[in-house]
């Protein structure tokens, strides 16, 4: 159990969480993915190729930016931001998409099939798919396609086959279900790719490992800056971004790690805080913490940031919670929006709304610390996506 990733990959589990809870049609295809993934992990050529692509195409490593202006405005600790908004496509997603596409290539699949809640992962999949000569099909709720016009248009430019799923409610589970159903009849030539850490094995392992490069880079960058952070904070929907940031920093000597979930607000009990309000359960193929009622019915998740709308988190988070290694908190939607806007105004970094949830918590923590202490926040992506829809907001000053 020295290396938690290795341990997890062998059993498909993270402590008592994880596993592969899928109907029989999906078992064997996913076992083949697990096998191909294990093979890749043992193959130095694979790691070299992945490393090269990350650097020369995705734009890794991403910078670690000192938020000097914001820190002094708030007073207290110094804030540092890991800039996944500067990756190709504008979000952290492409790092995960690349790994999955490279595994697909190893398996000699000709197509990537995935689901996307916001289109971010769809764009990422479209990019790496095109580069590797793989067809790409993305399932997305029809309402989400209409809302995320920008990402829909980008996917079309990238040649993605975009499949609209008619389903009520927000969040990605419906589109995931459709994608999986389609995959169950096409797995022979198709690779299922997911943006969600809450997925059947080997996906939480595979996605978690792919994204752990985020935290590895941070560790090195903090060393270069000669800094030790007191806190590391990231937003948690399904938790893939957060897991990517946290993994390398989970160390008894390391910082206090905080996963920020959408907690709704004073006027609502609706939230996406699976790791605060959820109970153990099995959903979307994994045993983890799930927002559910007493009868085991899944509750609709809510967050102002569409990327966080998820009633279940990846199983490693359930384990980290259980073991007390990560602290999960709820952040009000309004505070998150506030934090997102403040980052834009004060630092000129227009980050995703998802980012606001982690940042809002950091902004509350900072004043309780000394100015020679440090907080690391993860920026999951740029805020451009959201502009496709809410540019009617003119409350922020019009045109002269």
């Amino acid at each position: 159990m020295n290396d938690p990733i290795e341990y997890a990959e062998q059993r498909g589990r993270f402590g008592s969480f994880g596993g592969r809870y899928v109907p029989e049609p999906l078992w064997t295809p996913f076992e083949a993915v697990a096998q191909a993934y294990r093979d890749a992990m043992d193959d130095e050529d694979y790691h070299r190729r992945e490393g090269r692509w990350r650097q020369s195409r995705l734009g890794r490593p991403t910078p670690l930016t000192h938020l000097g202006a914001l820190s002094s405005e708030i007073g207290g600790a110094q804030l540092w931001a890991k800039r996944e908004d500067l990756l190709d496509g504008g979000t952290f997603c492409i790092t995960s998409a690349l790994t999955q596409a490279l595994i697909a290539e190893r398996m000699e699949k000709s197509r990537l099939l995935g689901e996307s809640a916001t289109g971010d992962f769809g764009v990422a999949l479209g990019s790496v798919g095109a580069a590797l000569g793989l067809d790409v099909t993305v399932f997305m709720r029809r309402a989400a396609i209409e809302q995320e016009r920008l990402n829909a248009a980008r996917m079309r430019r990238l040649g993605v086959e975009l499949v609209a799923v008619d389903a009520a409610g927000r969040g990605r589970s419906q589109a995931m279900a459709e994608a999986l159903r389609s995959y169950s009849i096409s797995w022979d030539e198709t690779f299922y790719a997911t943006s969600s850490l809450a997925s059947p094995a080997p996906y939480p392992q595979m996605v978690g490992r792919a994204l752990s490069v985020i935290g590895e880079e941070c560790k090195e960058q903090l060393r270069d800056e000669n800094i030790e952070v007191e806190y590391a904070i990231a937003p948690v929907g399904s938790g893939s971004f957060a897991a990517g940031l946290f993994e390398a920093l989970l160390d008894d000597e390391g910082p206090q790690i905080i996963g920020a979930q959408a907690g709704g607000g004073p006027e609502t009990t609706r939230n996406s805080a699976s790791l605060v309000r959820g109970r153990p359960g099995v959903y979307l193929g994994t045993h983890s913490l799930v927002l559910q009622d007493d009868e085991g019915q899944i509750l609709a998740a809510h967050a102002e940031a569409p990327g966080l709308v998820m009633p279940v988190a990846g199983p490693q988070h359930a384990r980290w919670l259980q073991e007390g290694r990560v602290h999960y908190v709820m952040v009000d939607d309004a505070d998150a929006l506030q934090a997102q806007r403040r980052l834009a105004r004060t630092e000129g970094i227009f980050a995703s709304r998802e980012t606001g949830y982690g940042l809002a918590y950091a902004l509350k923590l900072a004043p309780t610390l000394r100015s020679d202490q440090h907080i690391l926040v993860g920026i999951s992506g740029t805020g451009i996506r959201g502009l496709g829809q809410d540019d009617e907001e003119t409350d922020e000053g019009g045109i002269a």
């Binding site: 592969r20 809870y21 899928v22 109907p23 049609p25 169950s184």
Partner: protein, 266 residues
């Protein structure tokens, strides 16, 4: 070793014609109706009734059953209510096997022991959990089989022969071939026939196919290659249509399936 002689296994070998398993979503459109449909279906010739306990996110079911679950969800069907209904059915009908199927989260929410106990007490013969593969079933399988119920194993086009043999060794009651995905049948008929002929060598259990059967003809053509059919969506679709005479049409539909299945045995 678990007890292989569950009531389900005992019930089937008596028939020489293909098996007709019929599914109903419990609580669609309300529980009393389901209870009546059970009688109608059994009277019309079904060999077993599967009761689908509604789940909020029946991800691996096709659109018709998902709509049926949606309707049933608004009835807030509890385990206790379903069990009462099954017990009531059992009072009238001591023989026809009842299979309960659901998603694993509903089982976990109640607790695997309580769930198995409650179902066994109400007279259920077999349990099927859509998203619980054999590899993850350990604990619940013991709870179920320890109470003389079968935990039904599904197989699918993607199941390798090697895996099938492993699954078959541990299976009880019957096995269900999941041969469609929502609507589309996932394997061409000839290949399906060959595959099933092959698989049947490795298990003494009946293999019943879920193949999106919509008519007596469909049923007959599918059952020619295996031990019977499981019909779910077509029944939910009939119930969705409603109208004054839904029970009449339901009975006629199942009777037609029965006749067609019996015909191929002759």
């Amino acid at each position: 070793m678990k007890n292989r002689l569950t009531p389900l296994e005992n019930a089937f070998p008596r028939r020489t014609t293909p098996l007709l398993l019929t599914g109903l979503v419990a609580g669609d459109p309300f529980l009393e109706a389901t209870r009546e449909y059970m009688d109608v279906i059994v009277d019309a010739g079904a060999d077993a009734v599967e009761l689908i306990i509604p789940f909020s996110d029946p991800a691996y079911h096709g659109p018709v059953l998902r709509r049926a679950c949606d309707r049933a969800m608004s009835e807030k069907v509890s385990w206790e209510a379903v069990e009462e209904m099954i017990a009531d059915f059992r009072r009238d009908d001591g023989n026809t096997p009842v299979i309960v199927s659901t998603y694993y989260n509903r089982v976990l929410a109640r607790g695997t022991t309580d769930c198995a106990q409650g179902l066994a007490e109400s007279g259920v013969d077999a349990v099927r959990v859509t998203d619980l593969p054999a590899e993850e079933a350990g604990e619940f399988k013991e709870e179920v089989e320890g109470r003389e119920m079968a935990l039904i194993q599904s197989i699918a086009p993607s199941t390798t022969k090697e895996r099938f043999r492993r699954l078959a060794k541990e299976a009880s009651g019957l096995m269900i071939w999941t041969g469609h995905c929502g609507a589309e049948v996932t394997m061409p008929p000839a290949e399906f026939r060959d595959r099933l002929r092959d698989l049947r060598q490795y298990t003494p259990l009946p293999i019943v196919a879920s193949m999106n059967v919509e008519s007596g003809e469909d049923a007959a053509s599918v059952a020619g290659a295996c031990h019977g059919v499981l019909v779910q969506s077509a029944i939910a679709w009939l119930i969705e249509g409603l109208g004054a005479n839904v029970e009449e049409r339901l009975g006629a539909f199942v009777a037609d399936l029965r006749v067609n299945l019996d015909n191929i045995a002759e």
